[in-house]
């Protein structure tokens, strides 16, 4: 029997699950190899669990979602969180650094209608996660690779080293060395294919921290390139604002200030 796949979302932009539909060359082959049992973004058909693999996009921001997640964990053999929201809380984790009530009243005229937790947290804060696919958004090739690997039971080729490795493999010049452009690549996990340096800009960290990020060293180098504390903190606090090494590095700079 073909493995049964579920794809669902929490608080997110839908981009990561869209990556599956964006895998134009592989989509039908994947649909042939697995049973897409639950994927509301693409199908009206909802087949009940249990599922062999569940891909979850999005972060946990409401009490309702927190409870829903526990049920999902019970219904699936393997749970894979996909994207920066699901693995680090996403851009909405910026609210973890402020007061949610302020945020709610800023956005909504009638704040009482909105029920939301004070934080945006990754899936792994709530249930056991079997694999995390990083990125804001994930790279569709990594998603296809993950599915292909799961099907044959091998370790997916999803490296945890820095963007610099991909940057050099792609043949980019280092923008930090060649142009003095601050780049987060040395502390960001590979996966995107080092697109930003290929387009002449510094990496802004959408794949989250790499395996052993030396944030202190990069911070002092950025200072020598003229980046102030505020900008450094802002750069750490974007799409993976909730990732522990970025949280810690930001807090350290804040404390020093």
């Amino acid at each position: 029997m073909k493995p049964r796949l579920a794809v669902l979302k929490f608080a997110s932009c839908d981009g990561c699950q869209l990556s599956l539909l964006d895998a134009e060359d592989e989509l039908l082959a994947i649909a042939g190899a697995v049973d897409i049992a639950y994927f509301p973004e693409a199908s009206r058909e909802y087949l009940d669990g249990p599922y062999d693999v569940t891909l979850i996009e999005g972060s946990v921001t409401t009490e309702h979602d927190r409870n829903r997640l526990r049920q999902i964990r019970q219904d699936t053999a393997m749970l894979v969180s996909i994207g920066a929201c699901a693995t680090a809380g996403g851009v909405q984790a910026l609210k973890n650094f402020g007061n949610v009530d302020d945020f709610v009243s800023l956005v909504y005229a009638t704040p009482d209608y909105i029920s939301t937790l004070s934080t945006s947290t990754p899936i792994s804060d709530h249930v056991r996660v079997d694999f995390e696919l990083r990125g804001c958004p994930i790279n569709k090739h990594q998603l296809v690779e993950l599915i292909a690997a799961l099907l044959v039971g091998r370790k997916p080729n999803i490296p945890t080293y820095s963007v610099c490795v991909e940057c050099k493999a792609r043949g980019n010049p280092c923008v930090m060395v060649a142009h003095g452009t601050p780049c987060l690549g040395p502390i960001t996990q590979a996966g995107c294919g080092a697109i930003c340096p290929a387009y002449n800009r510094g990496c802004y960290g959408c794949f989250g921290p790499s395996e052993s990020p030396n944030t202190d060293s990069l911070e002092s180098w950025w200072q020598s390139l003229g980046v102030g504390d505020d900008e450094w903190i802002r750069t750490l606090r974007t799409f993976n604002a909730g990732a522990p090494p970025f949280v810690e590095a930001g807090a350290k700079t804040e404390a020093r200030r």
Partner: protein
């Protein structure tokens, strides 16, 4: 020595081998057997790179009798993604094999000496082929001793052979387990305790040791404490190996490429390196 891929397009290209037989040795350890049509020569201590296509490739020592030329066996403990995936294969499935590679146990150094073979856990696999060879050349050596330590009685590898070797008059076999069980009548303790009690003449003995790095480290200490010279103590070393032939760089330990300079090294050569943390 014949190499499977000598002269082929790429030293990285495996040859396809169907599995002709498979035995489960333990709950997590199995032996895969391959028919080699007499074209596969190796010496004990050598390894092959075995691939499951699409899954990955790992180094595995050859555990079969080097003097049986039509068959080759690998004994593998399922510990990670490739070794577990290989464990799911069965009769008829095809794997890729390159090799044999690496340095063999230097058996000639033991001529007219006491030969000590010391194994820990899965380390008995690469030593089994050595034992076959040593028994075939039994008259070359003086005392032949196997010291084998295992986690517990349930994890003893190759029980049939152990039983057979124990029954021989020209070979001494001592076995110990770290953790005992009610039915276990034998020794309990680390292999090093067997070393303390083993009968051999320090000055005229050669030891061949394979097991976890930490076990080898302490066996080395025990043997040298007893007066053996580090030149006569040989370890089979493990490191992450990706190519097996010195091209990928991974297995370096100091200046040694464990795959092509090893995996078998004398203690005198390897000891200074083993002592440096994270080398």
């Amino acid at each position: 020595m014949d190499t499977l891929n000598a002269g082929s397009v790429s030293a990285m290209l495996p040859s396809a081998f169907p599995i002709v037989d498979k035995d489960w040795e333990l709950a997590d350890t199995y032996t895969l057997h391959f028919a080699t049509d007499g074209a596969f020569d190796f010496d004990p201590g050598q390894m092959v790179m075995i691939s499951q296509p699409g899954v990955g490739e790992v180094p595995i020592s050859i555990s079969s009798n080097p003097d049986v030329h039509d068959r080759m066996s690998l004994t593998i403990r399922g510990s990670g993604s490739v070794t577990r995936a290989l464990g799911r294969l069965d009769y008829g499935d095809v794997v890729g094999i390159r090799g044999p590679y690496g340095t063999p146990w230097p058996l000639d150094t033991a001529i007219d000496q006491d030969l000590m073979i010391i194994a820990g856990g899965i380390g008995l696999a690469p030593l089994r082929s050595l034992i076959y060879r040593a028994l075939a050349r039994r008259s070359d050596f003086r005392n032949l001793t196997l010291l084998y330590g295992s986690r517990d009685p349930q994890s003893l590898l190759f029980e049939r052979e152990l039983h057979e070797w124990r029954g021989r008059f020209d070979m001494e076999v001592e076995i110990t387990v770290d953790r005992s069980s009610p039915e276990w009548m034998g020794e309990v303790g680390l292999v090093t305790s067997l070393v303390d009690r083993a009968r051999f003449s320090e000055a005229d003995a050669v030891a061949m040791v394979c097991g976890p790095e930490i076990m080898m480290h302490f066996v080395g200490i025990a043997l040298t404490d007893k007066g053996m010279h580090p030149d006569n103590i040989f370890f089979s070393m493990e490191r992450n190996m990706k190519c097996g032939i010195g091209l990928c760089g991974h297995c370096q330990l100091g200046a040694e490429f464990l795959c092509k300079d090893g995996p078998v090294f004398s203690l005198s050569r390897i000891e200074p390196l083993m002592k440096v943390e994270e080398l």
